[in-house]
Amino acid sequence: MTSARGNGQTLAEKVLARASGSERVVPGQIIEGAVDLAMMHEQGAQTVAPYHQMGAERVWDPDRVVIAIDHWVPASTEGAAVLHRILRKFAAEANLPHFYDVGQHGICHQILAENGWVVPGDLAVGTDSHTNMLGAMGAFATGIGPTEMAAVLALGRLWLKVPTTVGIRVKGSFGPGVTAKDLVLRIVGEVKTTGAAYRAVEFSGPTIERLSMPQRFTLCNMTTEMGAKAGMVAPDSTTFDYLASIAKHAMHPLQPDRDAAHERTIEIDVDGMVPMVACPYSPDNVRPLPEVAREHVRIDQAFLGSCTNARIEDLREGAALMKGQKVAKGVRLIVSPASTKIYEQCLGEGIIEIFTHAGAVFTNSSCSACFGGNMGILAPDETCASSSNRNFPGRMGAKEARIYLMSPAAVVASAIRGEIADPREFA
């Protein structure tokens, strides 16, 4: 680990300077940031009461507000139905046109990404902790609670303490069967769940430059598991190509200075890296997957889904392994695409057929089994191999249930074998 102390500004500082209308900002400074995009999922239902209690008369900019329901779609309980109802009513009353309701739905972060709602230079906030994912656009994107969101809707701004930045520089090439998920698990394992607390994480280096947007989303998504306020990648031609035909508003493609002052810089070489797995009960309890595979960890459920890893690229990878194989007896494989758009792509590419033939359950798009509140709930003595981002006690149901986090390919490999398996053995 090295420490760089220049006079330049990091990407996070530049975006927050822009948001606060100042030349530059320094870590520790409290700023009032103008919000470029505000996103709510079901938790936004709890925004409505405080919004009215504040005496707000109108939303600061209805064109910068997105509502995307995703946790219970369609509503699976009366409680969820009520949350949806509150949001629909509020959207109608407050004239919020950008509501991704049942039929256009998807996981909120994926909805923002694939529709170009967050662009380089934005300050974006959402009522979900994994809003960090959108930092892959070269934006400062972070999670807030629903009362805070009420203030954002009323005022169009929020206070933020300018964070220090942890630089993560990555070089080398992924071997076969090794993905951005394995990289981010390895990083969480090193940095630990508090290692980047309150900080911005900025990914750079030749490996990052070669990553696709979906892979960058996976990386930035799990900066939340390092405690980070934001996870960011400087925008480049990959970003601009991705957003070319979908960007919803003007970009401000800011770049970090070469001599930016990082709190610390972590150097990582992925040459020769093996697949990784986060073992119960913390995302930072990371071990090399081949080592865990040798212990023959039997699984009851496998989950290929979540905002971390349920994009078309992830499902293609999984389907390539699944084709011609069967889900092991006694294992439930749940596959849930991140959006309706991705669901349609799967339909067109025969991916739904591959998984269904293999004995998997291919579901409608939603957060699905990730959060233990809708479907795919685990019993106390059960074990799950999952492509999601958290494995804390009780995350997917019973507090004793054991969740192992891994790449989409490793989830499918494990579903085929009935125990945690190295996807490279199936190539």
Binding site: I30, E42, Q43, A45, Q46, P50, Q53, M54, G55, A56, E57, H71, W72, T77, G79, A80, V82, L83, T127, D128, S129, T131, G143, I144, G145, P146, T147, E148, A150, A151, A154, L155, W159, T193, T194, A197, Y198, G227, K229, S282, F371, G372, G373, R390, F392, P393, G394, R395, G397, K399
Partner: protein, 178 residues
């Protein structure tokens, strides 16, 4: 806001995430009275039935990590928690707590000086927490002014309400637009 807070202590370990405070199956519950029944179901199962208003929680590192769910501080507020002290907080939980007017104080080393059932005394002016049972004490950094103003207003709702009210009053007086 009271400057001196006293209460009986409940202790928690490190990395108590929001699932352990209020788990995913209760996320469709918006009634605080109902949430209160399930608070700390995973981390401290006896809390919900035995806690009394004004009790103080003392936790280790990274309290409230995980999701952005405001149900966590809401359930704690509904249970009448007087304050939550921790070696450190996860960021969204901390913001949510202050926004709801729930006193959350970062005091490094606090977990070590408290055992369950002991009595804590928090002096906000002096920035000191004292274990009245053992006499041990610890100073914590002053609460920053932007957070203190939020807590003194009783939370973010009231603060924004006042701000919007002041804003509406302005053009009437000066005729100037903002």
């Amino acid at each position: 806001m009271e400057k001196i807070i006293e209460g009986q202590v409940w202790t928690l370990g490190r990395d108590v995430d929001t699932d352990q405070i209020i788990s995913g199956k209760y996320l469709t519950v918006i009634d605080p009275a109902e949430l209160k029944k399930h608070v700390f179901e995973i981390a401290l199962p006896e809390f919900a039935s035995a806690a009394r208003p004004g009790d103080i929680l003392v936790a280790g590192e990274n309290f409230g990590s995980g999701s952005s769910r405001e149900h966590a501080p809401q359930a704690m507020r509904a249970a009448g928690v007087g304050a939550i002290l921790a070696d450190s907080f996860a960021r969204i939980f901390f913001r949510n707590a202050i926004n709801l007017g729930l006193l959350a104080i970062e005091a490094r080393g606090v977990r070590e000086i408290f055992g369950a059932g002991q009595t804590a005394r928090i002096d906000l002016t002096a920035g000191r927490v004292t274990n009245l049972t053992t006499g041990r004490w610890l100073d914590f950094p002053p609460i920053p002014s932007h957070l203190l103003s939020l807590l003194e207003a009783g939370g973010l709702v009231e603060k924004v309400r006042r701000e919007l009210e002041a804003r509406r009053a302005l053009p009437l007086q000066s005729g100037a637009s903002r």
